[in-house]
């Protein structure tokens, strides 16, 4: 019971934390799960919950995103999509596409796959975007002419999760490359290269440990290398004290998601410079 309570408590606290800050824009949202992998024979469901304090209208859509060498996901206009990306958009069906939710009201989005006959084996992927539609721009006291310029900038914010369709027997492996402490404009980052080979993406958790130290120095979950890139840099921002601690010999382990067994994808001893 106690184990179940943790997540409940989180939701409970989130629901209560919100009224403390006045609702500036309706549209706060929760999405679960954070990733879908479909094999074409059966569908899945995603839950969308309005965790704001006002009713909100949400729109659900599919987007094309491509991984860049730095691990970022670039948005691609549908007109610029490759045939495989267009095939992914066409084979993933979902409903509903627009929902109005009162506060704390979850909605199930059903996701199905229709694979056309003759589709070549491979991994097909689109990113499902959940986003609130703003009902009105934040109203401030109107300024009359001559009273200066006032600015209201409203964010339209949302969450995307990957929806992956795998057709045929696919395999992939990954190799951990050099590791270093890099400097980003926002401070130090633990960086390493990750190369991928095979016919599908790899996805998993990174754990950095040092011999003789019981606790991992760094844990990063949900690191993917998608098939459109053969290699990417993983850059994880860290506090300066951890950066100093990470320098030297470390053991880096890349494991599959715990939900699919947590097998090791690759493990390597590296000296962090």
């Amino acid at each position: 019971m106690l184990r179940l309570f943790g997540p409940f408590l989180c939701l409970f606290m989130a629901a209560f934390a919100l009224p403390a800050t006045p609702a500036l824009a309706a549209g706060d949202l929760l999405v679960a799960p954070t990733r879908l992998i479909l094999d074409g024979s059966r569908g899945a469901e995603v839950v969308l919950n309005n965790i704001g304090s006002e009713p909100a209208t949400y729109r659900i859509s599919l987007e094309v995103k491509r991984m860049a060498a730095d691990g970022g996901l670039d948005e691609i206009a549908e007109a610029d999509a490759t045939p495989a990306e267009k095939a992914a958009l066409a084979m993933i069906a979902f409903s509903p596409r627009r929902v109005v939710l009162p506060p704390n009201q979850p909605q199930v989005i059903r996701v199905g796959v229709r694979v056309p006959e003759g589709t070549p084996p491979g991994e097909y992927r689109a990113h499902m975007l959940f986003r609130a539609v703003p009902d009105s721009v934040a109203a401030t006291a109107p300024k009359a002419a001559g009273e200066g310029v006032s600015i209201a900038i409203t964010p339209i914010y949302g969450i995307t999760i990957p929806v992956i369709v795998r057709i045929g027997d696919l395999e992939a492996s990954a190799t951990i490359g050099d590791a270093r402490i890099g400097e980003t404009r926002d401070g130090p980052a633990f960086e390493f290269d990750l190369t991928r080979s095979g016919t599908r993406s790899v996805y998993g958790d990174i754990e950095v440990t040092r011999r003789g130290e019981p606790q991992p120095l760094l844990v990063a979950r949900g690191i993917a290398v998608y098939p459109e890139v053969d290699a990417r840099t993983v850059s994880l921002r860290i506090p300066p004290d951890l950066a100093a601690q990470l320098r030297g010999p470390v053991h880096i382990r890349y494991t599959e998601d715990r939900e699919v067994g947590g097998a090791t994808i690759d493990a390597a001893d590296r000296v962090v410079r």
Partner: protein, 165 residues
């Protein structure tokens, strides 16, 4: 109040668990087991809005900059009474999860009386590693103010998403 909040939260999770577990539940019924799967979730909430405050334009074009840390710099020739804020967003999810942040690099603001303005946008992070208490990122920007910019309310929207890999 506490119980009501709790019940609502429970209802949300319960539905999530049931929805995803239709198949598991069928499989389980044969052996009489009960299962509940807690789904990994991600939450995104908006905090303070990106607000450049009130600006009184001058006779030459200038800029007002807001850093992602919330510091406002008023360009020469402008007068900026009051204060502004950087936009902020809060992310909750699995401890240790790495998410990417992507958003528009500029926003166009339409004036209530006349004229338009543009602002370049900056984000405090491209990726956020969630800790035990989640994570957050901020949005700043540089607003272009025209010479004798028309008074009035200028409003615009920009897109920002948090992406699971």
């Amino acid at each position: 109040m506490r119980t009501i909040g709790m019940k609502r939260a429970l209802a949300g999770v319960a539905i999530a668990a049931f929805a995803m577990n239709a198949q598991a539940a069928q499989a389980a019924s044969a052996t009489g087991q009960a299962k509940a799967k807690i789904l990994r979730q991600i939450q995104l909430t908006a905090g303070s809005p990106l607000d450049f405050g009130t600006i009184i334009s001058g006779s030459t074009a200038s800029t007002v900059a807001m850093t992602t840390a919330g510091t406002r710099t008023c360009g020469s020739g402008l007068s900026c009474p009051g204060t502004g804020t950087a936009g902020s967003f809060d992310i909750q999810g699995t401890n240790g999860a790495v998410v990417t942040v992507s958003g528009d690099s500029s926003v166009t603001l339409n004036g209530s009386i006349s004229g338009t303005m543009t602002a370049a946008l900056t984000y405090s992070a491209n990726t956020v590693t969630l800790g035990a208490s989640g994570g957050n990122f901020q949005v700043g920007g540089t607003l272009n103010v025209g010479a004798n910019q028309a008074s009035g309310d200028h409003a615009g929207t920009y897109n920002v998403t948090v992406n699971y890999q």
